[in-house]
């Protein structure tokens, strides 16, 4: 039997007389059914959007946080759950198998979300003499390396001990702080610096004010007493952060946490708590967010080291940080404590020394942080050649010991002994190996620059408005995308590096923490650019060429193009990244594609995407069947007529037809349809006559449909009985249209609400009669056009899905007109898609037509355009 006939029978059953009461009851039931249906669609809408957001997060390389992952998955789960609930109500409890699948998926997701790093169990305290590389989980990387330097490289380090990650975990757990910390971080707005600062300050206070458990307190004081016994009563110590996961090859965490110098016995415990709290310093929070670390991925360990009475301190690189293959050692040295060298606040001597013996000084440079300090003196200082030799030998020894170039902090005490304070890999310093002189082109010479000088501390070029930051107030006003201009490279400015496009500092050198983080974030940075904060003015657009060490006015495309390089995905392989990746395997793959397949069942759903697909399909089935099940012909399908009958059928769900319409009439005139989205689609379908090709003979609008329904040899793309026809399922603001035109199948669904959350347009398209290559070319053309009109398009084989969500109604109405147009005008053009010239011609015609269509709409009421009743 003809499919069309069987369909008509279904929707036009023999008249059954009903009392008015029956009809009212039915209408109420239908209304409820329809509301459930719409709620299901809203949840579906939300779910698809959330899934797209998560896929995008993974693909784009934009940083995302664990809060994002947890929040999105929670929102997704609740929406998918709501879909299953609404479907249960729509179908009177059919599809109960969904619950099993859903519960299984959620518990597997829960396991992924709950995945925790192994918490090391161990002593609260470890003396340096017991520490080496293998203790990193307990002592943090910094202390583990220091133990290695002492116990295996056999060099001098300060006397002291580590307070382990077990201790800090115990401290946090004993005060039950973890949940509160996570709650505060979850509600923090990472793009709002004020929110970041207040969250950071709040959490740090929370930790610093919590009491230390007695057992930790006793263990620390007992160990300190032993240190006193060796080093003297009330020996001053430095309390250093030594986080796990810090200073590894891929993530430096440079300057993130606190180090407190000259701490005496009285303040020991309080300082310990403050260092533990410094895990939540704003720059550390931002850094972790950028790099995909959760709080629990980082454990705070603390080093407690007797102060070195330093005469000279400095930093040694076993190879040049600008060039890891260089054959010289670089030493930065300054009088006093090492901290001044790394925070960029002291005048330093820089030496380049040959790696081969006898070590020769290649050159020496003196750099001052600013003019006022240099006037104050201190220029008399320099390292002796013995000291240079010894420092160089130590650097080479440590490089050999650790197996990679090293970045070493040291002090020389009054007895002349060199004490190693820290040694860590130099792996992050990835400046390209090239001479800036070689990069200069004639262009640069001819372009006048604003300033030049300083040192390249991170290569590249970028353009943005100047924002000078001298105080915390400037910092709060820092706009995203600006060039950070500072007087000194203080580590706290690192908080801004996720917003800045480049960094310019008047002082400082390559050893500064801020430089390390800039390199890590691949931000071009020039340090030592004298008078930058005076010459540059807030808001000026500049181009920073860190390679050429020049600043240009305005946007310099040539320079930017030369520096353009694909930016690294900072998140990749971080714990959070891997977690989202694993979670998405249970969420986004779609295996249920064909509703006619015997495997299109609840039990076959393997992912959340499958469940949403299944619920959506079955919800539409339920809505369709409602009318026939209840012989409720008021709501059944009518044929649309204009001047002549068309091959379009329409079913009213609620308020889609003009009031007072004769409900018994099997035909409906287009003017009696008041569904806004339907009329927009209809306008798109009819506004511009379809001219072919291909030159296939057809009579009127529906000929292709009859062709395909009458020819059983054509394998339909989608065999669902529901979707094998052209139906509009409408309400005032809702429209679901399934179309088979030519040999392709298409589905448009939309709801226009004044609530953006509910508003969407979705479009599915599949099939065609031509060979696969041509079909694919057509679908690629469709994708291109849809993307031009802001659709999010997903292509799997020759099946296309496109969506737009959460946009205002006029915007969506235009998109519906576009879809209506495309439905008609891309018919069978797959047949001619083999020809590039033809493709060009069609693309051009389609774009011109759409342009005309949308302009037409702006001028006249949509009613005026709908006159030909679907006749082409």
């Amino acid at each position: 039997m003809n499919i069309l006939q069987s369909f008509l029978k279904k929707f036009f059953p023999s008249q059954i007389l009903r009392s008015q009461q029956d009809i009212t009851e039915l209408q109420t039931a239908f209304k409820r059914q329809y509301r459930n249906f719409r709620s299901l669609l809203t949840a579906n809408n939300n779910a698809l959007e959330i899934m797209a957001e998560m896929e995008q997060a993974l693909a784009m390389g934009q940083p995302f946080s664990m809060s994002f992952v947890r929040g999105r998955i929670t929102a997704l789960t609740t929406n998918v759950y709501k879909m299953t609930q609404f479907l249960t109500q729509l179908s009177d409890g059919k599809y109960s198998g969904l619950a099993t699948v859903f519960n299984d998926l959620t518990s597997r997701l829960e396991n992924i979300l709950m995945r925790q790093p192994a918490v090391p169990e161990g002593k609260f305290i470890m003396p340096l003499s017991e520490i080496d590389r293998n203790s990193a989980d307990l002592t943090g990387e910094k202390m583990a390396n220091l133990g290695e330097v002492l116990n295996h490289a056999k060099l001098k380090v300060p006397d002291g001990f580590a307070i382990t990650s077990s201790a800090s975990q115990h401290f946090i757990a004993a005060n039950n702080l973890e949940e509160e910390i996570n709650r505060r971080l979850q509600t923090m707005l990472p793009d709002n610096l004020e929110s970041v600062y207040s969250t950071s300050a709040g959490i740090q206070q929370l930790i610093s004010r919590s009491p230390l458990p007695a057992d930790i307190e006793e263990a620390i004081m007992a160990e300190y007493a032993q240190l006193e016994a060796r080093q003297g009563d009330n020996v001053l110590v430095s309390i250093r952060s030594s986080a796990t996961g810090e200073d590894t090859r891929n993530s430096s965490f440079a300057g993130q946490y606190r180090t407190q110098l000259n701490v005496d016995k009285e303040f020991l415990l309080q300082t310990y708590k403050e260092i533990v709290a410094s895990k939540y310093r704003s720059q550390a929070i931002i850094y972790r967010l950028q790099r995909g670390y959760r709080n629990q991925d980082i454990a705070m360990c603390v080093g407690c080291l007797a102060m070195v009475d330093a005469v000279v301190s400095g930093v040694t690189y076993s190879r040049s940080p600008e060039n890891p293959r260089s054959q010289w050692v670089v030493i930065h040295a300054a009088p006093g404590l090492a901290a001044q060298v790394v925070d960029g606040s002291a005048p330093t001597n820089m030496y380049r020394v040959t790696r081969e013996e006898p070590h020769k000084v290649l050159d020496r440079k003196l750099s001052y942080p600013d003019t006022t300090q240099s006037l104050a003196g201190e220029k008399a200082f320099s390292l002796s050649s013995d000291q240079i030799n010894e420092l160089t030998r130590i650097a080479l020894r440590l490089e050999k010991h650790f197996g990679s170039p090293q970045d070493i902090e040291w002090s020389i005490d009054r007895s002349g002994a060199i004490i190693i304070l820290q040694s860590r890999p130099l792996g992050l310093l990835t400046l390209e190996q090239r001479d800036p002189e070689l990069d200069k082109t004639g262009d640069e010479e001819s372009t006048p620059f604003l300033m030049s000088g300083g040192a390249t501390v991170s290569s590249g070029a970028a353009c943005g408005p100047v924002h000078i930051v001298l105080s915390n107030l400037d910092l709060l006003q820092f706009p995203a995308g600006a060039v950070l201009v500072v007087a000194h490279p203080f580590p706290e400015w690192a908080t801004l590096l996720n917003r800045a496009v480049a960094v310019v500092s008047e002082t400082g050198q390559v050893a500064a923490h801020l430089a390390t983080v800039a390199r890590e974030f691949k931000l071009p940075a020039i340090f030592g650019m004298d008078k930058a904060t005076e010459v540059l003015k807030n808001g000026d657009m500049i181009t920073v060429d860190a390679v050429g060490r020049r600043i240009y006015s305005g946007r310099q495309e040539t320079i930017l193009a030369q520096a353009a390089a694909p930016s690294a995905n900072l998140m990749e392989n971080s714990p959070v990244y891997r977690l989202l990746q694993d979670a998405l395997t249970l969420i986004t793959p779609l295996s249920l594609t064909d509703p006619a397949s015997p495997f299109f069942t609840a039990a076959s759903c393997k992912t959340f995407h499958d469940i949403t697909r299944f619920c959506h399909e079955k919800a539409i089935t339920e809505m369709f069947q409602f009318g026939s099940r209840h012989s409720f012909n008021e709501k059944a399908a009518k044929q649309i007529v204009g001047e002549t009958p068309s091959q379009w059928w329409i079913i009213d769900l609620e308020g889609g037809f003009r009031e007072g319409l004769d409900s018994k009439n099997k035909f409906i005139h287009i003017d009696d349809i008041v569904s806004t989205p339907m009329r927009a689609i209809w306008h798109g379908i009819n506004a511009i006559p379809w001219q072919g090709p291909p030159p296939v003979s057809f009579k009127g609008f529906g000929s292709i449909i009859f062709q395909s329904t009458m020819n059983p040899n054509l394998d339909p793309a989608v065999r669902s009985t529901l979707t094998a026809k052209n139906y509009f399922l409408v309400s005032k603001n809702f429209c679901n249209l399934s179309v088979r035109l030519g040999y392709h199948f298409a589905l448009v669904e939309t709801y226009l609400s004044n609530l953006l959350t509910e508003s969407y347009v979705s479009f599915q398209f599949k099939g065609g009669a031509a060979d696969e290559t041509r079909r694919m070319i057509r679908i690629a053309l469709l994708k291109e056009i849809l993307e031009r009109f802001d659709f999010r398009v997903d292509l799997k084989g020759d099946a296309l899905t496109a969506r737009i969500e959460k946009k205002p109604t006029p915007f969506l109405l235009d998109r519906l007109r576009v879809l209506g147009y495309l439905l008609m005008h891309t018919r069978q053009i797959d047949m001619v898609m083999g020809d590039q010239g033809m493709l060009q011609r069609y693309r051009q015609k389609i774009l011109t037509d759409i342009d005309m269509l949308l302009k037409m709409e702006n001028k006249q009421d949509d009613k005026g355009a709908i006159t030909n009743g679907g006749k082409v």
Binding site: R32, I73, T74, T77, T78, T187, L755
Partner: protein
Amino acid sequence: MVEKYKILLVDDEADFLKINCKRLMRRGYSVETATSCAEAISKLETGWPTVVILDVMLPDMDGIACLKKIKEKWPAMTVLMLTGHASMQAGLMGIAHGAADYCMKPIELDELIEKIHIAHDETSSLHGL
């Protein structure tokens, strides 16, 4: 958006209550606040609220238990969970026990208002109102 609901905000965070109360009122909604479940229940007993926005963690009772209590007495009441605590299980429990939505802080005011409207529509139609 014609309908202006009477909203009861339940949260133990004073800052949150203050800010959001002010914002919602500026948009023309009537708002009252409660800092505990007990206080929320007593305000519900006056028959005033049409929508309840409930935190998941309250000082006297966890939010899900509070939700159950509310839904037992007032099954047709529109309740949204709004929390800084993103938990799948809490989300599912919330929906299963009759919350119309489970939202995460921070949330944009416009988004919250939309969610309130959708939640109210859904809850009303569920109870045949």
